[in-house]
């Protein structure tokens, strides 16, 4: 080892004239024959470091054992372990093994390469080092500090040097991660990005797990995320500034991870994803079936959702597949499927705080009410279950233990006070645990795709309504089965130029039952209702987009009757009732006049 450093130094020793140099523990040159120590130190051998930097290209490069500090390791190595653990957890939950080996692994490699962390001759850290190696005096002080890269010092002296400079971490390249410039470049990893990568791999392998499922599993602790660094191998010591990278205090939101995933796609310039066809579980046609059964809606609604899909042209698989050219956005599969269900329910029950209850009132009396779907009954069952589930979730949230047993100390100064705080917290905790004799930690819930549980078993959320018939709310018109309800409302569909959602402003004017439905699905996906609202709007835009509509043939007339509007009078009367923002659909087809008359008749009936 020493030889390769001393080989270039061929000056004979001043005392004994021998050319046999060794390097002492302090990094100083000494003559092996007479033990004369000279001024020269290893620091000059910076050229050899440039060679060394190629070592970075292999992640599992040679590691030198350091006293009590474990191996020298890279941050991306740490992330690799975390990703591996996350993927293994997913495999254990039933994701197919191809997900890890054939999708996530190449994706990860591609990521490392693109972000110049590995598989490259130009690793992301070496460029920084060169600035220093050149040793230009003009470099600013701040840069000089950020250059105190663990790698820039020979490993044997890294320990003492890094501590002197106030920099202290287990991994060797933490500072690179923390320098503002690199953070801005968006190419470096964070804990959030591990989830985004996993999510992308899941979409690529067309697994039945949506993003909200993934986040729920993370939240419930089935997939390592919080304190994931605990599972790193023993030799990889996580210390010091590593805490800023590996400690998380929050599970990112649906919105954030999705955005992150889109950024990664951009960054990696991924090709088109494998098509999400009708048969894939991610496709709204099948995903909506899952959600229908989760919220206890009758199975009979599913064909109607599919009809809606066809009508809006959303059966097309290109719409659900990411493609940098044709469809350069990553769909939110879960939100989209929920939006379709909401729109279908609106078609059937209007959800204007009136029609749906009238419809349920009319249903109140028939002979076989046990078999007919009644929205009021469903609402009552669902509302109770929702409140219960909300309470359950709140309880779990307020009982979540965030702080890990294995602490990382950001610097030595804080170490003792942090240990003390930890001890105090533990003792207080212990005191109450003894008092209540309740076990700490979350109550273990088995992982499940479903949030609610319907049926007659114990612990179910209520009776199952899956088998209920929709007979009373559909009617046969011109040989087409259409919903009895022929009114439909929607908020203004024109896109606003600003990118913010206007949900907050219109929320007060929207019908309560519609908002409740939004909240139900928002709770299920753990998203803000406005995300869902935007998704509903985009489905509605597809329904009512005239340009799209003109392309359709008359064969769709039956379906279009669903979307029929009311006459101007009815519109006026309704406008006074709801907000001026809400507009009725404009009549477009021949059936409309029939629909209008019917609706007027009904309106009169309801008034009398």
């Amino acid at each position: 080892m020493d030889d390769e450093h001393t080989a270039e130094y061929t000056v004979p020793c001043a005392q004994c004239s021998a050319v046999d140099w060794g390097i002492s523990d302090e990094g100083r040159f000494y003559c092996r024959s007479c033990h004369n120590v000279i001024e020269r130190t290893r620091e000059v051998v910076d050229l050899s470091f440039l060679k060394l930097s190629s070592r970075v290209s292999t992640i599992r490069g040679p590691r030198k054992k350091q006293a009590e500090r474990g191996h020298v390791w890279m941050v991306c190595e740490g992330f690799q372990f975390i990703l591996k653990n996350q993927a293994d957890a997913l495999l254990e939950l039933g994701v197919s093994p191809q997900f890890k080996d054939d999708v996530l692994c190449p994706l990860w490699r591609c990521y490392l390469q693109k972000s110049r962390q590995a598989y490259t001759h130009d690793p992301v850290r070496s460029c920084k080092f060169r600035v220093r190696a050149v040793g230009s005096d003009s470099e600013s002080a701040s840069e000089a500090i950020s250059c105190t890269d663990g790698e820039s010092n020979p490993a044997s002296t890294a320990g003492s040097n890094t501590e002197n400079s106030g920099f202290w971490s287990g991994s060797s390249d933490t500072l690179t991660y923390l320098s503002a410039r690199k953070k801005r470049s968006q190419s470096l990893l964070s804990m959030k990005k591990t989830l985004a990568l996993i999510y992308l791999a899941l979409v690529w392998s067309r697994e039945a797990l949506t993003l909200s499922d993934l986040l729920r599993l993370v939240n419930e602790g089935h997939i390592p995320y919080l304190n994931a660094y605990e599972q790193l191998p023993e030799e990889m010591k996580v210390t010091g500034k590593d805490s800023l990278i590996f400690i998380v205090e929050t599970v990112p939101s649906h919105h954030a991870v999705h955005k992150e995933a889109e950024t990664i796609i951009q960054f990696l310039q991924l090709p088109a994803f494998p098509p999400v066809s009708r048969q894939t579980l991610l496709h709204p046609a099948l995903l909506s079936l899952r959600y229908l059964s989760d919220v206890n809606l009758p199975d009979e609604l599913h064909p109607w959702v599919c009809r809606l899909l066809e009508h809006t042209g959303m059966m097309d698989q290109t719409l659900h597949t990411f493609d940098p050219h044709n469809h350069p956005t990553l769909p939110r599969y879960d939100l989209q499927a929920a939006a379709l269900i909401i729109v279908t329910l609106k078609l059937f029950f209007c959800l204007d705080d009136m029609t749906e209850w009238h419809l349920s009132n009319d249903l109140g009396r028939p002979k076989d009410s046990g078999k007919v779907f009644n929205l009021r009954r469903w609402y009552k069952v669902m509302e109770a279950a929702l409140i219960q589930a909300q309470e359950r979730r709140d309880q779990n949230v307020s009982r979540k233990q965030w702080k890990s047993k294995k602490q990382i100390y950001p610097n030595k100064k804080e170490k003792c006070s942090m240990i003390k705080k930890k001890r105090i917290a533990e003792q207080v905790q212990l005191c109450f645990e003894k008092l209540t004799s309740c076990p700490s930690g979350l109550q273990d819930v088995g992982p499940s795709s479903f949030i609610f549980c319907w049926g007659d078993e114990e612990k179910s959320d209520g009776p199952s309504l899956h088998h209920m018939k929709l007979d009373e709310v559909v009617t046969r018109r011109c040989d087409f089965l259409t919903p009895l309800n022929d009114m439909y409302w929607h908020p203004a569909l024109r896109r606003c130029l600003c990118y913010n959602s206007h949900y907050k402003e219109v929320e007060a004017t929207l019908p309560r039952s519609f908002i409740w439905l939004l909240q139900l699905f928002a709770f299920m996906f753990d998203v803000k209702p406005f995300c869902l609202y935007e998704e509903v709007l985009s489905v509605e835009r597809r329904i009512f987009d005239t340009r799209l509509y003109r392309g359709k043939s008359k064969a769709d007339a039956g379906a279009s009757a669903e979307a029929a509007g009311a006459s101007p009078e009815a519109q006026a009367s309704l406008n006074t009732r709801t907000s001026p923002r809400m507009t009725r659909t404009s009549p477009r087809t021949a059936e409309v006049s029939l629909g209008t008359r019917a609706s007027r008749r009904k309106r009169q009936r309801s008034r009398s």
């Binding site: 233990q401 965030w402 006070s417 705080k421 105090i424 917290a425 109450f432 406005f530």
Partner: protein, 437 residues
């Protein structure tokens, strides 16, 4: 201790994701460097998962406590202490106090709590930071006192008294005074115990009297010191005076009480004058001195019960003007509703007026005093309602009051008579009867 944490380095949040594409308000608002008014109840929008958990947990604890579900509150308390590990001191600091206060409250109501639990919490929280050190020490010793562990309580106070921590000591100067005061009080309590045991056994046992003397000296050092600070030290001064009296340090006792009552730095405190009066009375001071004290008390609290004694002292005096003063004192007492149906006060009023009637111009004097009261005094004391009430509850009072009506208000017909109301009542019943037939 926690000095290190003081330099609150801004926490670099790599995981910062703002979910709020809808509200711009939260985006612009960077965390200010100033301490928030109530950082513990921070707004919901900027919360991360950890903050959300702790704030929800705190809400649930509060809810459970409000509804006296102590078991449930204790369960959530298991999860709350993790906030102590929060690196953000704005949330960690107030939560210490929350944990300390909530925990002791829960223990107080929880069935299974033991003294050990209390001690754990008090000790842990006391040492978790120096902000509340003295306050917690004080409360800890209160708690020990409640459980009759006087020696332990004293030990805690003694250690708290000698606690010093740089600038923090200055910030907690008030608490230090309190601790001194209570230490003195504890010495007094032990002194009392010794006294009671001594008196039961040998009176002249020099050993125990020596220890008593020691406790007295310790207590008096603290109490004397504390009484120099302006404030309300009622319960402390009483004990101090009691000890001084026991050892017959009458001069000092009088000095202490005088200072307490008349030092203008102290907040006006009627009790100070009461204590002084009581002491003087015990010592058999002259009437003149007693009256002087009561005069000041009269200015502070005209409705004080000692005003009865004051008026009797004034009555006993030879001077004519004192009788007039007595009239004023009694009338002012009666201005307060609480004395309205008190027989003794009315009797005193009658006695005063009887004595006044010996003077020539007594009608003028009474009229003068009544002039300012004529608008409302009769509604307060002399309505027909009062007449029926008084005659029912206390016939004697009724008679005294009735005898005074003419004197107090010669030129006005008063409804304060039983006959009037009875006649009226009879008339009404007649009317009703007439209507019926």
């Amino acid at each position: 201790m926690d000095d290190f944490n003081r330099e609150l380095e801004p926490h670099i949040d790599l995981e910062n994701d703002s979910d709020s594409s809808e509200d711009n308000s939260s985006k612009g608002g960077k965390k200010s460097k100033f301490p928030l008014v109530k950082p513990i109840y921070g707004d919901q929008t900027q919360q991360n998962g950890f903050r959300r958990t702790t704030s929800m947990c705190r809400e649930r604890i509060r809810e459970a406590m409000l509804h006296h579900r102590w078991e449930e509150a204790a369960e959530y308390m298991v999860y709350y202490p993790q906030i102590l590990e929060d690196r953000n001191l704005f949330t960690a600091q107030p939560s210490k106090e929350f944990i300390w206060r909530t925990a002791t409250e829960i223990f107080h109501h929880h069935l299974n709590s033991t003294m050990e639990d209390y001690n754990t919490i008090y000790e842990r929280m006391k040492h978790s930071g120096f902000r509340h050190y003295l306050m917690i020490s004080l409360e800890h010793s209160f708690h020990l006192l409640l459980h009759q562990q006087i020696e332990d309580a004293k030990r805690h106070l003694a250690s708290a008294e000698s606690w010093r921590h740089g600038k923090e000591t200055a910030a907690q100067i008030q608490n230090i005074k309190l601790i001194q005061a209570y230490r003195g009080l504890l010495d007094y309590i032990i002194w009392c115990v010794k006294k009671s045991t001594r008196s039961s056994s040998d009176y002249y046992e020099s050993d125990s009297s020596q220890t008593m003397q020691n406790y007295f000296r310790q207590a008096s050092v603290n109490l004397e010191e504390i009484l120099k600070n302006p404030g309300v030290w009622d319960s402390f001064i009483l004990r101090y005076v009691e000890m001084l009296e026991f050892y017959e340090h009458h001069k000092e006792a009088l000095q202490v009480l005088n200072d307490y009552a008349y030092d203008s730095n102290f907040p006006p405190n009627p009790n100070a004058h009461v204590y002084l009066y009581q002491y003087l009375k015990r010592q058999g001071a002259s009437e003149k001195r007693l009256m002087k004290v009561l005069k000041v008390l009269h200015a502070l609290v005209p409705s004080h019960e000692l005003m009865l004694e004051y008026s009797s002292l004034l009555l006993q005096s030879e001077k004519q003007s004192d009788t007039t003063k007595a009239l004023g004192v009694v009338l002012e007492m009666l201005d307060f509703n609480c004395w309205g149906s008190n027989l003794e006060v009315w009797m005193r009023l009658k006695a005063v007026i009887q004595k006044l009637q010996n003077q020539v111009d007594w009608e003028n004097i009474v009229g003068e005093k009544m002039a300012e009261r004529k608008d409302w005094w009769f509604a307060l004391h002399f309505t027909s309602f009062h007449a029926t009430e008084d005659s029912k509850e206390n016939p004697e009072l009724f008679e005294v009051k009735a005898s005074l009506t003419k004197i107090l208000c010669p030129d006005r017909p008063l409804k304060y008579s039983l006959n009037g109301s009875q006649v009226k009542g009879k008339a009404e019943t007649k009317k009703r009867k007439g209507r019926r037939y």
